[in-house]
C-alpha cells in the first residue's frame, strides 16, 4: 500500500487540465457502448483519468452513470468499446485494480468493522497477519472511526457506515477508486462533513477517484474535472475543468459560476 502511495503523483501536481489525462491515463475509456437487451444505456462514452486526479461524473437519473461504474468495476462483462485500467482491459483483469464504494454501505452486518474493512484487503494479504491488522486499524482511524473497530454496522449512523465502506475501498489500494453517489442518502450537514473528509483522505493518499453524483454542487466542490453525461442513451455532453485551488469555499463566486456552467450543460 505505502509503496503505491509513494509512486502516486500528488493531487496538486495532477492538475485539472485535460492535457494531464492524455499523458498516461490510469483509466481510459474509449467509445464505450453498453446495452441491456433493447435498451441502450451508454452510447460512445470517452473518458481519460490521470493518476491522482479527482473526476466527478454528473448526469440526470437514467443517463447511465451507474452503468458506467459497473462497467469500470468489472461487474458488467458485456460491452462495446475499450475500457482499460493501468493499460489492462477490465475484461482481462484490469478491473482487479478498481475499488468501489456503492451508493449503500453494503456492509456485512454480522461482522465487526475490522472484518468489514478487511474484506477490501487484496486477495494475497492474510487478514490475520499483524501488518494487515495494523493497516486495517490505520484505515479505521483514517476515516475517523477510531474506537469503533469492534463495533458492528448496526451500531453506526448512516454517515459512519458509509465511511466504513470508504475504508474498505482504501484497504484494496486500488489504482482507481469509484464512488457511486456515496453521500446521496445522507442529510445536508452530514453530507458536507463527509465530502470534506473524502477530500482530506484523497489529498493525503493521492488515490485516483471517479465520483458519480447527481449533485452539481458536490461535483464542482470536490472534483478537478466534471464530466457531464446526458441524453438517453448516455454520452459525454461536456467536460468542465474546475481550476480552483483547494481548500475551496462552497459559496465562492467562481465555484458558483462553474456550477451554472455544469447545470447549463445538463440542459436544465
Amino acid at each position: 500500500m505505502s509503496s503505491d502511495g509513494d509512486a502516486n503523483v500528488s493531487p496538486a501536481a495532477a492538475d485539472a487540465d485535460g492535457a494531464s489525462a492524455e499523458a498516461d491515463p490510469v483509466l481510459a475509456v474509449d467509445d464505450l457502448r453498453k446495452r441491456y437487451d433493447d435498451t441502450v444505456a451508454l452510447d460512445g462514452v470517452d473518458l481519460a483519468v490521470a493518476d491522482g486526479e479527482f473526476v466527478a461524473v454528473v448526469g440526470p437519473s437514467g443517463c447511465g452513470k451507474s452503468t458506467l461504474l459497473r462497467v469500470l468495476s468489472g461487474l458488467e462483462a458485456e460491452f462495446g468499446g475499450r475500457v482499460a485500467v493501468d493499460g489492462t482491459d477490465v475484461r482481462d483483469g484490469g478491473s482487479d485494480a478498481v475499488g468501489m464504494v456503492f451508493q449503500e454501505p453494503r456492509l456485512l452486518d454480522w461482522a465487526d468493522l475490522r472484518e468489514n474493512v478487511a474484506v477490501g484487503l487484496p486477495a494475497d494479504v492474510d487478514p490475520d497477519a499483524p501488518a494487515a491488522r495494523e493497516l486495517v486499524g490505520d484505515l479505521i482511524e483514517t476515516v475517523g472511526l477510531d474506537g469503533f473497530a469492534d463495533s458492528h454496522p448496526d451500531e453506526l449512523s448512516g454517515g459512519m457506515a458509509q465511511r466504513v465502506a470508504l475504508a474498505r475501498g482504501l484497504a484494496y489500494d486500488p489504482s482507481v477508486l469509484l464512488l457511486d453517489e456515496p453521500f446521496s442518502a445522507l442529510d445536508r450537514l452530514t453530507k458536507a462533513d463527509q465530502q470534506d473528509h473524502l477530500l482530506d483522505v484523497w489529498e493525503a493518499r493521492g488515490t485516483t477517484v471517479v465520483l458519480v453524483t447527481h449533485d452539481v454542487e458536490e461535483a464542482v466542490y470536490l472534483a478537478d474535472r466534471v464530466v457531464v453525461l446526458g441524453g438517453q442513451p448516455g454520452t459525454v455532453e461536456a467536460v468542465v475543468d474546475v481550476d480552483v485551488d483547494r481548500p475551496r469555499e462552497r459559496a465562492a463566486p467562481d465555484l458558483v459560476a462553474l456550477r451554472r456552467e455544469v447545470t447549463a450543460a445538463l440542459g436544465r
Binding site: G74, V98, W110, V119, A123, D193
Partner: protein
C-alpha cells in the same frame, strides 16, 4: 463525520458528569437519574411464570375430572398416579435405559440428517444446475409422511438401530435442506457484488459472505429438523423397538397402563422441549447479539 464522534463523546461525558454530581450532590445529579440502571419492576420479573398458570390449571382440572369420575381411572389416571409411575420407573433404573436409547437415536439421526441436509442445501443453493436436478425430487419427497417410510426401512435395514437412525435422519434432513438452500440462494446480490469487486474469489466469498449470511436460515432449519427428529423417533419406536420412550408408550397400551402412556407422552414433551431450548439458545448466541 466529526459530528458522529462528537456525539459519542458527548454521551460518555454526560454519564461521567452524572456520576460525579451524584456523589457531590450538585443539582445536575437530577438528570443522571434517568441514565442510571433502573431496577426491574417486581411484576415484570415474574412475567415468564405466567406461562405456567394455564398448564397448572389444566392439571387441576385433570385431577378433578378423574377424581369426580368424569373419566374412569382405567382410561385416564390422576396426575399424581402418573408422577408416581414415572418416579417408580426412574427409581428402578428402567426409565434411564429408555431415555438414553431414545436420546441416542435422536442425536445420531438428527446429526446425520443435518449433515446431509447441509451438503445438499449448499449444493442446490449455490448451483442452478444442482437445484434444477435435485430440488423437484426433494420437494416431493418431503411430503411423504414419516410413518410411510417405516415398512420400507424395516425391509431394507431390518429392525436394528440402522433403520431407526436413518428414519430420523430423513425427518431432520428436510427442514435443514430447505432452509439452507433457500437461504444461500437468497443471499443479497449487493453483497455478492462487493465480494466480486474486491476479488474475494470463490472460496473466500463463500466463507466470508455467503455462509455467514445464510447462517440464520440454517439455524432455523436445524431447529425444525430437531423437532421433526422427535416425531420420527416415535414413529420408529412405536413399530419396531424393544427399548426407548416410544416403546414404553406402546408397552403401556399392551399392558393397559394409561399411566405409562401419559407418562411417556409427558416425557417426550419434556425431552423435545429441552432440545428445542438448547438449539434456540445456540441460535440466539450465534445470530442475536
Amino acid at each position: 463525520m466529526a459530528a458522529d464522534t462528537r456525539r459519542e463523546s458527548d454521551v460518555s461525558r454526560d454519564s461521567d458528569s452524572g456520576r460525579g454530581s451524584a456523589t457531590d450532590g450538585s443539582t445536575r445529579g437530577a438528570e443522571s437519574h434517568g441514565l442510571g440502571p433502573v431496577p426491574l419492576p417486581a411484576a415484570r420479573r415474574f412475567r415468564p411464570l405466567l406461562g405456567l398458570l394455564v398448564p397448572a390449571a389444566l392439571v387441576g382440572v385433570w385431577h378433578l375430572s378423574v377424581a369426580t369420575g368424569v373419566f374412569p381411572a382405567y382410561q385416564l389416571p390422576t396426575p399424581l398416579r402418573v408422577a408416581e409411575t414415572l418416579y417408580g420407573l426412574a427409581a428402578s433404573g428402567e426409565l434411564w435405559g429408555h431415555v438414553a436409547i431414545t436420546v441416542q437415536r435422536v442425536v445420531l439421526g438428527a446429526g446425520l440428517g443435518i449433515v446431509v441436509g447441509i451438503l445438499f442445501g449448499t449444493a442446490t443453493g449455490l448451483s442452478r444446475t444442482a437445484s434444477d436436478l435435485l430440488d423437484p425430487l426433494l420437494q416431493s419427497l418431503k411430503n411423504i409422511p414419516s410413518l410411510a417410510w417405516v415398512p420400507l426401512f424395516l425391509l431394507w435395514f431390518g429392525i436394528g438401530e440402522t433403520a431407526k437412525v436413518l428414519l430420523i435422519a430423513v425427518g431432520a434432513f428436510f427442514p435443514v435442506y430447505l432452509n439452507l438452500s433457500t437461504g444461500i440462494a437468497a443471499v443479497d446480490e449487493e453483497l455478492l457484488e462487493v465480494a466480486e469487486v474486491y476479488d474475494l474469489g470463490r472460496v473466500e466469498s463463500l466463507r466470508r459472505v455467503v455462509f455467514p449470511a445464510a447462517l440464520p436460515d440454517l439455524l432455523v432449519g436445524i431447529r425444525g429438523g430437531v423437532g421433526l427428529a422427535w416425531m420420527f423417533v416415535v414413529a420408529a419406536e412405536l413399530i419396531a423397538a424393544s427399548q426407548g420412550v416410544g416403546f414404553l408408550l406402546s408397552d403401556g397400551r399392551t399392558l393397559a397402563r394409561p399411566d405409562i402412556i401419559v407418562g411417556s407422552i409427558l416425557l417426550f414433551a419434556f425431552l423435545g422441549n429441552c432440545s428445542d431450548l438448547a438449539v434456540k439458545e445456540v441460535r440466539d448466541r450465534v445470530v442475536g447479539r
